[in-house]
């Protein structure tokens, strides 16, 4: 018999610290499958966020850098600018990317920084125990919106793909989900495309992954998947928000010396 499915090589063979049913693990795996398939582990440098995936450096077998909360895009910029031949990605949660790191996120995109951002949208702060995230849905109960997120008091969610798509430097923005096998396959395809974009120097690529946090949602893992499907996908529609085939830097433009 032949093995048809097993752990990708670039995903280090250790147990993770993630909660049972947390979809961080699925995203880790498909990201590593892409790295394996493209054969780029030795040329990839990953940047972890502060959030539940802070210790992703113990899981990804490529070189890894742990960034300060929200600053992964800046760290990645420092890496990519000085190592333009390397593949650089960040892996960030929604608090990291869309709250404290908003400026870094917007600017890495508008610069058309030739990196890949994997953005885990689970509508909550996982690591710190379940506070409101910028992506928390209206009405959602969290530790800091104990009566449900009220837009009047706590504002509206940020729709990251929609927002970043207005920026010229964004080459590719797609929102995917990991709630089902077909969606996981689509998610992997999106990640692959983002890395291929980087290879082709097309500019900034982001893949937003709708994920679960069963623990802080207070739901059993399968119920969490159901919430993702029933509540998150309608609010955060899946799909390609931007895809600039020719890349964001047409040869003619720019005032380079």
């Amino acid at each position: 018999m032949a093995v048809v499915f097993e752990r990708p090589k670039s995903l280090i063979d250790v147990p993770t610290h993630y909660c049972p049913g947390c979809t961080h693990g699925i995203v880790h795996r498909i990201l590593c499958e892409v790295i394996d398939e493209m054969g780029i582990e030795g040329d990839t440098i990953g940047v972890c966020p502060v959030g539940c995936s802070v210790m992703a450096y113990d899981y990804f077998n490529c070189d890894m850098i742990e960034a300060a909360h929200g600053r992964a895009p800046a760290v990645a910029t420092g890496v990519k600018r000085t190592n333009p031949d390397k593949f650089v990605f960040t892996y960030q949660g929604d608090g990291d990317l869309a709250a404290i790191g908003t400026a870094e996120t917007v600017h890495v995109a508008t610069r058309g920084e030739n990196i890949v951002v994997i953005f885990i949208n689970n509508t909550i702060y996982g690591m710190t125990g379940g506070q409101m995230a910028p992506t928390t849905l209206p009405g959602q109960v969290t530790q800091t919106t104990p009566f449900g997120r009220s837009p009047e008091l706590a504002g509206y969610p940020v729709k990251v793909c929609e927002m970043l798509s207005t920026l010229t430097g964004t080459a590719y923005a797609e929102r995917v989900a990991v709630d089902s096998v077909p969606h996981i396959k689509a998610a992997k395809k999106a990640i692959r495309k983002a890395f291929e974009n980087q290879k082709a120097g097309k500019g900034f690529s982001i893949v937003e992954v709708l994920s679960t946090c069963p623990t802080n949602w207070g739901l059993a893992p399968l119920d969490a998947i159901k919430r993702l499907q029933d509540e998150m996908i309608p609010y955060y529609p899946l799909g390609v928000y931007k895809d600039v085939e020719e890349g964001v830097f047409p040869k003619t433009e720019g005032g380079n010396e």
Binding site: E41, G42, D43, T44, I45, V47, V54, M55, Y57, D58, F60, N61, C62, D63, M64, I65, E66, A67, A68, R71, A74, V75, A76, T77, G78, V79, R81, T82, N83, K86, A103, E104, V106, H107, E257
Partner: protein
Amino acid sequence: MERNLMKGNEALAEAAIRAGCKCFFGYPITPQTELAAYMAKRMHKAGGVFLQAESEIAAINMVLGAASTGVRAMTSSSSPGISLKSEGVSYIAGSDLPAVIINVERGGPGLGGIQPSQADYWQATKALGHGDFQLLVYAPASVQEMVDYVVKAFDRADKYRMPAMILADGLLGQMMEPVTFPEINPNAYDKSGWAANGHKMQREHHIINSLYLKPDELENSILDRYKRYEIIKETETEAELYLTEDCDILVCAFGATARVAKSAVNDARAQGIKAGLFRPKTLWPFPVKEINEAAKNAKKLLSVEMSMGQMIEDIKLAINCSKPVEFYGRTGGVIPTPAEVLGEIKRMGGAL
């Protein structure tokens, strides 16, 4: 060697490029803007990276990223911008990364003013961010020393894998003086043992990180770092001693203020008062041996600072409070004059 007339800020930039700095990330702020402007003009030609970041925070974290891959990286700012970098500096220290940070100080607190100040002394030497750590802090006093200490800062940062700061001020940054650039052959430090620049499937993956969830591991990482700090305290202190051998009154001052103090010391000598000058060139580590040598015959010390008095504590601790240490300071961008300092020296001399 050719004498160039250059602003301190420009000299810092040129020296960094010559010292093998491969990338500069910064955000505009007075009074250090010429540094970035110079980099914008020259860095790409020198094969390096100049990028104006969206903020000081982004800049310091870009430095962290570049430094993680083993590249010589630098950022610069002035007081409020340095505060914003403090989290990042703490991360750089906690990740054992080399990097050079320039602070061309201005008056604070808050938005303050844009004139020279030295009121970030404590921030630089004790607490540029949270947690137990130190940076190397160099205090040049001339445009030439701006050059010399940038070169040294890059070297020592690499050598000890830690951040190094040039603590200058608006006066040094803005003034022009003749400067020469010595032949610089930057030491090459082997970073292949830790740099995260792609393992090419030929080694274990490298992790650059400041997180240690087990307290004893975090403690050990800190203890290791403090062992290096001890070596640095032994070997890296630098100071200028001027007319200290027989001095009754030892004036202590660093950076631009030391120039004013030196004028005052000369004026005092001209009036027959035995004044001397102790000028620390490293603020951390503070030159403890050197100040004790300088103060050995002094009856009193006078700390002159462009602040409300910060270095004075290090002076007292360094001499174990063995002699009176007085203070004269101007702050908020006011530059003390030689006449004012002379007045203090005379006042103290009269009381001898």
